[in-house]
């Protein structure tokens, strides 16, 4: 009984202990459950908005839709730059697993170049997660087949169909159009990154670069619902991309062909311009290159060849080639001399074949001396001096000018100034003056140097584009427009912009014009050789520039030296004289002289004057 009582007491005590523990446990449970409940309340009721926004960010992906780049057509609507469907190899790095081994496998299959890998690495930095990065463009049918066969061994690799820039005329318009290339790390800055999302190419040089903003178009945006793996499930809404604007050029692709074929393989540059509005009708820079090579990454060896060639094919000689203008400036100086009353129409200057400054024994030779052993004539007037390109007359005139007035006169024709043509990286040439020499060379001007500048030699340099503008001023009797390749943007005509205006009396213009007409049509004219069979009137001026070659890479090579030291030939012209429709400036490098240049101009004028409009 006592034992039973003891047991009862134990039982009661143990019950008390364990029940006490239950009470504490219950209290703890209530506290913890309330705490957890509050956590869910806080997430779901207090912070709903925040998490809903987060959920939408998860769910909704903003995809950019690349616009199509504007096409470029010539004045007759011939396509010069178009977009062609092509296939591009791309990798989504997140899905590739071991990216390096995938790249290696692709290298074995397709022979990727270092450039491909390098551009791929750069493109990777600009893209959104889970999106494909282009690796190789314009896959051939054979490459597509190889990829199809090996597809399952290449995780993350996909073939995209997209539009790639193509230049149907190949090298014919390489310098003018320039090219687009894959966007490199230096091509766009931070602020532009957003505008280029989803766009793989950017205009690098030429019109493609100058009109990049117009050609590019505006990105479209599409909001899509995606799952966690980035797979698109549904399009929520879409803002269509704005296609790039179409550029219509003044350029005539047939005239360009005529010019290129007339140039043959001579190095040099040709510009043809419409004097009525400054529209560039043709622009050839020889040697040429094919812009298509650059679109998807040129191989390093190909690029090195172009870059390092002594003939500098990448140089656009039309705006970047700087040459002594030589005798082409004589009509301009003549007009300025008349304007400033330094000479009259009848001023006659004796020409013994050389010129001497008073008190200076040095003889400044006329080019004719080497040919005939005498001067052009006993006495020369302005008209004949232009037609026959008499140096002595212009030595005397230059001496009367003095260097600074002479520079001022040529400045009026745009020599030494940027023309403002719609191409990037134009060079301005050099228009020397006493101030210029002090600043650049650091010494004072000598009178003899004025004579040399008076025949377009010495320090003076000009680009073919500058001479085309100056020739326009001669053709229109004083008014030239800013040269422009583009005639219309999306059909909206581009208004010509006046660039310079040279006022002069009509009889002065008549006289200079007569000299230029005589150049072609008089027996003694320096371009008489181009006269036969002309069915329209032409005014022109030859030039022969003494220089060394312009190639940057100047290793001493005696064999080549003689060739690269030969004279450059110039010819500027306009036609028809009465109502000029076309202005041409031709430069042929190391060709010996102007007689190699005027046949090119003749071919172009013939085409232009005979075409049906």
């Amino acid at each position: 009984m006592a034992r039973q009582l003891n047991q009862m007491q134990d039982w009661a005590r143990e019950t008390r202990i364990t029940q006490g523990r239950v009470t504490v446990l219950a209290a703890m449970m209530i506290l913890v459950m309330l705490g957890l409940l509050y956590r869910y309340f806080s997430l779901q009721v207090i912070q709903t908005e925040e998490y809903r926004a987060q959920s939408d960010r998860n769910r909704i992906a903003v995809r950019t839709v690349a616009p199509t780049r504007g096409v470029i057509v010539d004045r007759s609507g011939n396509f010069l730059a178009v977009n062609q469907p092509s296939f591009t190899l791309a990798i989504t790095p997140e899905r590739a697993g071991d990216l390096d081994s995938v790249l290696e496998a692709l290298s074995d299959l397709l022979g990727l170049t270092g450039i491909d890998i390098e551009l791929f690495t750069e493109a990777r930095k600009r893209r959104r997660p889970m999106s494909p990065v282009p690796l190789k463009y314009r896959l051939t049918d054979k490459e597509l087949a190889v990829l199809a066969v090996n597809k399952h061994e290449l995780p993350g690799v996909s073939v995209l169909s997209e539009l790639t820039r193509h230049y149907p005329e190949g090298d014919l318009l390489g310098h003018a159009l320039g090219y687009v290339g894959r966007i490199g790390i230096d091509d766009i800055d931070e602020s532009e990154k957003e505008a280029y999302r989803g766009i793989s190419h950017i205009g690098k040089v030429g019109l493609e670069a100058y009109y990049e903003d117009v050609l590019k178009g505006g990105l479209g945006v599409s909001r899509v619902e995606t799952n966690a793996r980035g797979v698109e499930l549904d399009v929520i809404d879409r803002i269509e991309p704005v296609p790039g604007a179409e550029l219509t050029l003044h350029l005539d692709v047939e005239l360009q062909r005529v010019a290129a074929s007339a140039m043959g393989n001579m190095r040099g540059a040709v510009v043809a311009m419409d004097p009525k509005n400054g529209g560039v009708l043709s622009a050839v820079s020889n040697p040429r290159y094919d812009p298509n090579k650059f679109v998807n990454g040129i191989s390093f060896s190909d690029y090195a060849e172009l870059r390092d060639s002594r003939d500098a094919p990448l140089l656009n000689r039309v705006i970047q080639g700087q040459y002594p203008p030589a005798s082409t400036i004589k009509p301009m100086l003549g007009l300025a001399g008349l304007n400033r009353d330094l000479i009259t129409i009848d001023t006659a200057i004796p020409d013994p074949g050389y010129y001497q400054l008073p008190g200076d024994p040095r003889r400044y030779r006329d080019w004719i001396l080497r040919v005939r052993g005498t001067g052009h004539a006993e006495e020369m007037n302005l008209r004949d001096s232009i037609a026959q390109s008499c140096d002595v007359y212009f030595y005397e005139l230059a001496n009367r000018f003095g260097i600074d007035a002479l520079a001022e006169s040529l400045d009026a024709f745009g020599i030494g100034s940027l023309t403002g043509v719609d191409l990037p990286s134009e060079k301005r040439g050099i228009l020397p003056s006493s101030e210029w020499k002090r600043r650049v060379i650091g010494s004072s001007w000598y009178g003899g140097e004025t004579l040399i500048v008076g025949i377009g030699q010495g320090y003076m340099l000009a680009t073919p584009m500058q001479l085309a503008v100056a020739t326009t001023a001669l053709a229109t009797r004083g008014n030239a427009f800013k040269p422009s390749f583009v005639a219309a943007v999306d059909g909206m005509p581009v208004q010509p912009e006046p660039l310079l205006s040279v006022p002069a009396a009509t009889e002065y213009w008549d006289e200079v014009s007569a000299g230029m007409v005589d150049t072609v049509s008089s027996v003694r004219g320096t371009a008489f050789g181009m006269r036969s069979g002309l069915t329209y009137s032409v005014a022109g001026k030859t030039g022969t520039a003494q220089v060394v070659g312009i190639a940057q890479d100047a290793t001493y090579d005696e064999e080549a030296l003689s060739e690269y030291q030969r004279n450059h030939g110039w010819f500027i012209a306009y036609a028809p004289v009465e109502n000029p429709e076309i202005v041409v400036a031709v430069l042929t490098e190391n060709s010996g002289g102007g007689s190699t240049a005027y046949p090119v101009a003749r071919a172009m004028l013939d085409y232009w004057m005979s075409r049906d409009e």
Partner: protein, 382 residues
């Protein structure tokens, strides 16, 4: 009229009485079985949505529930004294199986948790979930309560050995659940508070050595991620960020059944298993969460009442350990999914997909029902 009415009332009350007697005979506790049924049925809806509307997974889970309920019914028929009698043997068996896992276990993803008997594969750690509270309650009820130091020391060994074996599999979640059920039994036995507090202090002190010597890199990563999920958005932080986003975007009303974008668009990992509460929260909102909490509260409350009313110290310690263990698993799951606790693999009881855990849980509830429907001692003594 009134006669008729009273007769109807009499009949229905008689029928009701018969039904209650039937439940009694079957050892079914209504306060436990009803919320458990509600949970499993409601859980099926959530699972169907979370699985991406998978009929296969739905029917598999229905089978799991059927098996688990059957096991519950069977377990509930045992007498408490019988349970107590088999306790040491079950514990010994479970421990042996855990040791066997070390040598013969099979597994996947670097964890070795399974034993294969050819026709069936199972996790001995799940057996231990049941064996641990039984064994501790058995051991501690052998002597008068509160236990003396020697009993407590041995009890700790009994907890530590199996927990350690499970931890090294590695399976941190189950190891914690098993350890908790054992420790809860010791707690119920009336271990002095000073022991409890010194254990807590010891545990806090052991964090540093545990960090260096015990925790695996992936486990450390989970803890670090808890404090700053943004540090590794696409890696270890992904789960927490996505589950919080799912819960938060559910708001008060929820986005609607099968309409949760986090769950349906695969942003939420493990949505049908450990993270299923996030799917419920996203699609049914805080209202749904509140209801879930209420059902769990009823189960926990009823568990505590059963514990309180249990007829013997063994029964109370066992019941208390089972309820505490259930509670612990629940808290760890709710806490980790909402970003309060590190991610350890603990399912949401009765809702997460999976059969094994559900069966061991139903054995636990079966034992609770066995305890609750036992005839009072006083009456037996009379």
């Amino acid at each position: 009229m009134s006669n008729d009415f009273s007769r109807v009332a009499e009949v229905s009350s008689r029928e009701l009485g018969a039904r209650i007697r039937l439940l009694r005979v079957l050892h079914i506790d209504l306060w436990l079985s009803v919320p458990l049924l509600l949970l499993s049925i409601g859980g099926l809806f959530v699972l169907y949505s979370a699985s991406g509307l998978s009929d296969a997974m739905l029917s598999a889970q229905m089978r799991n529930i059927a098996v688990a309920m059957t096991v519950l019914l069977i377990t509930a028929q045992f007498r408490v004294e019988t349970l107590r009698g088999v306790s040491p043997y079950i514990f010994a068996l479970a421990t042996l199986l855990l040791v066997a896992v070390v040598f013969f276990g099979v597994g996947a993803k670097g964890a070795q948790r399974w034993l294969s008997l050819g026709f069936i594969r199972f996790q001995p750690s799940e057996v231990m979930k049941v064996a641990m509270p039984l064994a501790l309650a058995w051991w501690l009820s052998k002597k008068a309560l509160p236990p003396d130091f020697r009993s407590i020391a041995l009890a700790f060994v009994m907890v530590a050995l199996p927990s350690g074996l499970i931890l090294q599999q590695p399976d941190l979640g189950t190891s914690l659940l098993v350890a908790t059920s054992g420790l809860a039994a010791i707690y119920m036995a009336g271990i002095q508070w000073r022991y409890i507090f010194s254990t807590i202090v010891l545990a806090l002190l052991s964090i540093w050595p545990a960090w260096i010597f015990v925790l695996k890199d992936y486990q450390k990563q989970r803890v670090l991620t808890l404090f700053n999920p943004e540090s590794d958005r696409l890696g270890a932080g992904w789960n927490i960020i996505q589950s919080k986003t799912a819960i938060g975007s559910g708001g008060w009303e929820g986005l609607g059944w099968t309409q949760g974008s986090q769950a349906q668009l695969d942003f939420l990992p493990e949505g049908h298993t450990d993270f299923i509460i996030a799917v419920l929260a996203e699609e049914f909102g805080f209202r749904g969460v509140l209801l879930l909490f209420l059902i769990y509260a009823v189960i926990l409350g009823r568990g505590l009442v059963i514990t309180w009313k249990a007829q013997s110290s063994f029964a109370r310690m066992l019941a208390g350990a089972l309820v505490a263990s259930f509670f612990f698993g629940l808290v760890v799951n709710l806490g980790m999914v909402s970003g309060l606790l590190p991610v350890v693999g603990v399912p949401l009881p009765m809702v997460s997909y999976g059969g094994t855990a559900m069966v061991s849980m139903m054995i636990a509830f079966g034992m609770l029902m066995a305890i609750s429907t036992e005839r009072p001692v006083t009456r037996a003594m009379r």
